[in-house]
């Protein structure tokens, strides 16, 4: 299969869906010439016109609100918020409006909306440009939450998100855009709510999201001669394919969640809660979360590195959990 970059895969998904359905339009900052914060929308204005690729003023609350209102009235907006850190200026339109409108209206409204954004650290952009905020959205009933880790997943999941009739928060990672992987050139969909076993194994279940999937795979490879690690990427947090995770933990008896978001109160804790509840008898040791430091992301490289789970730490945690019990 041809190799394609994550950002190109996103671009293809947008392009295919725009070609397929006239009601799909893009809205956000600097989408036209720059292609948005990541380049994912490059070339789309040329192809589909600025009528459908709407570059906005710096007014996130207004353009997210516009998108929600457009979705209520039959369009299928795909919004870009340049960095997920900036959701803080438009949280209301996402949380109190988009997520709740269908329910509050007794099912009368449908909000087919995708909000794309990028999270994560590792580029020395400091505390206001490096957060991983998926836990906020996963705690907001009415939102689906998607976090693709590979080019193939990015394309298939974004297409499904666009076709979904609910508001979907689609979280990319800034260090993934340039990564390449195999992905079909032709059209395909990956359903929301289906985890992917990225590497099968027997001794421990490692659930990782977004960029952490790659670090976890590297860690799994590094210990492969002594420990057989199963790496699962849930791909979507809401809906969560808990069955896939449970099945794995029933087999391995051990669960380690690796997330970049701050450990405290992150979505990893939610996975631990559910697995503990549902697989208690099978657990050989306490499930754990290896997450980001409970700190704002520091600027300086060595400090930033210390805040993000690194391969060595994952290896260390795997080894301790497997020898532990």
């Amino acid at each position: 299969m041809r190799e394609v970059s994550y950002v190109k895969a996103l671009n293809e998904a947008l392009s295919e869906e725009m070609a397929r359905d006239e009601s799909v339009f893009l809205i956000g900052e600097d989408l036209v010439e720059l292609g948005g914060g990541s380049g994912a929308t490059k070339g789309l204005a040329e192809r589909f016109g600025t009528h459908r690729v709407r570059q906005t003023p710096l007014s996130e609350a207004a353009f997210v609100g516009l998108a929600v209102g457009a979705a209520m009235t039959g369009l299928r907006p795909v919004v870009e918020i340049m960095y997920v850190d900036f959701v803080t200026v438009c949280m209301d339109q996402i949380v109190n409006q988009a997520a709740k409108l269908r329910y509050m209206s007794g099912g009368q409204l449908t909000i087919p909306l995708v909000i794309r954004s990028q999270g994560g650290g590792g580029t020395s952009e400091a505390a206001q440009h490096s957060q991983s905020l998926e836990a906020w959205f996963a705690h907001t009933p009415g939102l689906k939450v998607v976090m693709p880790a590979t080019a193939a997943d990015a394309k298939g999941l974004l297409k499904s998100a666009i076709r979904d009739d609910n508001p979907v928060i689609f979280l990319e990672h800034k260090l993934l855009y340039a990564t390449k992987g195999p992905a079909p050139r032709e059209e395909y969909l990956i359903p929301l709510g289906q985890a992917d076993v990225k590497r099968p194994g027997q001794d421990i279940t490692l659930v990782a999201t977004s960029f952490m999937v790659h670090k976890s795979l590297a860690a799994a490879e590094a210990v492969a001669d002594k420990i057989s690690v199963e790496v699962i990427d849930p791909r979507t947090l809401i809906p969560l394919d808990i069955d896939c995770i449970n099945t794995s933990v029933q087999k391995t008896g051990r669960l380690l969640v690796v997330q970049e978001a701050c450990t405290h109160g992150g979505f990893g804790s939610e996975i631990v809660r559910r697995v503990t509840e549902q697989c208690f008898g099978a657990l050989k040791t306490a499930p754990r979360v290896l997450g980001g430091a409970n700190l704002p992301m520091p600027f300086s490289h060595p400090l930033e590195t210390a805040c993000i789970p690194q391969e060595e730490k994952i290896i260390d945690q795997i080894e301790r959990m497997v020898t532990d019990a």
Binding site: F25, H51, T56, P57, S59, A61, A62, F63, V64, G65, L66, A67, V68, G69, A70, A71, M72, T73, G74, L75, D92, Q93, N96, Q97, L101, R102, Y103, M104, S105, G106, G107, Q108, L109, T110, I111, P112, P141, G142, D164, D165, N166
Partner: protein
């Protein structure tokens, strides 16, 4: 502008209906409170009837409106049957939002009613959406967005007016300046005399309107609608008005009683319009009081309908969250 007599009579009927509905809703609230049960927050539109009616009567059913926390008047003026509203207030399954929404969240997309809002100013960005949608789909639908003097202080106002004006969206922003936001008088919250004057800062026309004169509102909105339908973009209208009741049912009213008395005496929208209809010999007193009686009967029938309707069953609580359910 010549207004057909039927339209004038319909205006009066709608104003009567709003007042009767609000009055009856307050009674129900009080009765229930005495029995120790809640009806949530109830914000009366009494005194402001001319705004909703003047603004909505000239709209088409496929034109959109965005309402507020003080929204019953908007719903009635846009054509919603009061029995579904009353049922909603009582939390019944037959309510317009199936009991999920309540007083602040009434929706009827078929009539263009895209909902009230519990977040002050929350509807202002949403209104950009249906307006954008109409422009995108090349229809000539317009959107009317109601908001209060309090809401005019929210950042949403600024972002949305700018965007609407920049993109010439067919949206009419109507500020219902009833002089107070809860207990805060407008001169303690807005640094200038008129919200409408801010339109200049967005390059769109603004106008102060006598909000107790239904015909003045009608004329101003009709002009704004014509502009918007013709592609000339948004307009900001500020209707000066006054609410007769406390902010909501659970908050004591400490406004100067003489101020209230003066507004009721000099600016009551219904009395004012009754007199006009008499003067113009369109309806005599007998016809007016007959109409009012009919309206009261309709409202009473709505109460009967609502009281007789079933509450939603707890087992259905999760219905209407996701589009696929």
């Amino acid at each position: 502008m010549r207004i057909p007599e039927d339209t004038l009579r319909e205006m009066l009927r709608l104003m009567y209906t709003i007042r009767a509905f609000e009055c009856r809703a307050r009674q129900l609230f009080e009765e229930r409170r005495l029995r120790g049960s809640f009806m949530g927050a109830l914000h009366s539109y009494e005194g402001e009837e001319a705004v909703a009616v003047g603004a909505c009567i000239g709209l088409r059913p496929d034109d959109y409106i965005l309402s507020t926390h003080r929204g019953h008047g908007h719903c009635i003026a846009k054509g919603v049957d009061v029995k579904f509203m009353m049922a909603e207030l009582l939390g019944k399954e037959t309510g317009i939002s199936k009991g999920r929404g309540g007083s602040m969240h009434m929706f009827d997309p078929a009539l263009g009613l895209l909902g009230g809002n519990g977040i002050v100013g929350g509807g202002i960005p949403l209104a950009l959406g249906p307006a954008f949608s109409a422009q995108y789909r090349h229809t000539d639908q317009v959107t009317v967005c109601f908001f209060g003097d309090g809401a005019a202080c929210q950042g949403n106002f600024h972002e949305s007016l700018n965007l609407a004006s920049l993109w010439k969206l067919p949206v009419i922003y109507i500020c219902e300046n009833n002089q107070y936001a809860v207990t805060t008088p407008v001169n303690e919250s807005i640094a200038v005399a008129n919200v409408a004057d801010r339109a200049a800062g967005y390059g769109c026309p603004g106008e102060v309107v006598d909000g107790s004169d239904v015909l003045a509102v009608y004329r101003a909105v009709t002009e704004a609608v014509q502009r918007a339908r013709g592609g000339a973009g948004p307009m900001l209208l500020e209707c000066k008005t006054y609410r007769y009741q406390a902010h909501c049912m659970v908050i004591p009213d400490r406004r100067d009683p003489q101020e209230l008395a003066r507004w009721q005496k000099e600016h009551d929208p219904i009395r004012h319009f009754e007199r006009y209809l008499l003067d113009q010999q369109i309806m005599d007193e007998a016809q007016q009081s007959k109409l009012n009686e009919q309206v009261h009967k309709t409202v009473e029938a709505a109460v009967t309908f609502a009281e007789a309707s079933p509450l939603p069953h707890p087992s259905t609580v999760a219905e209407h969250l996701w589009a696929e359910d």
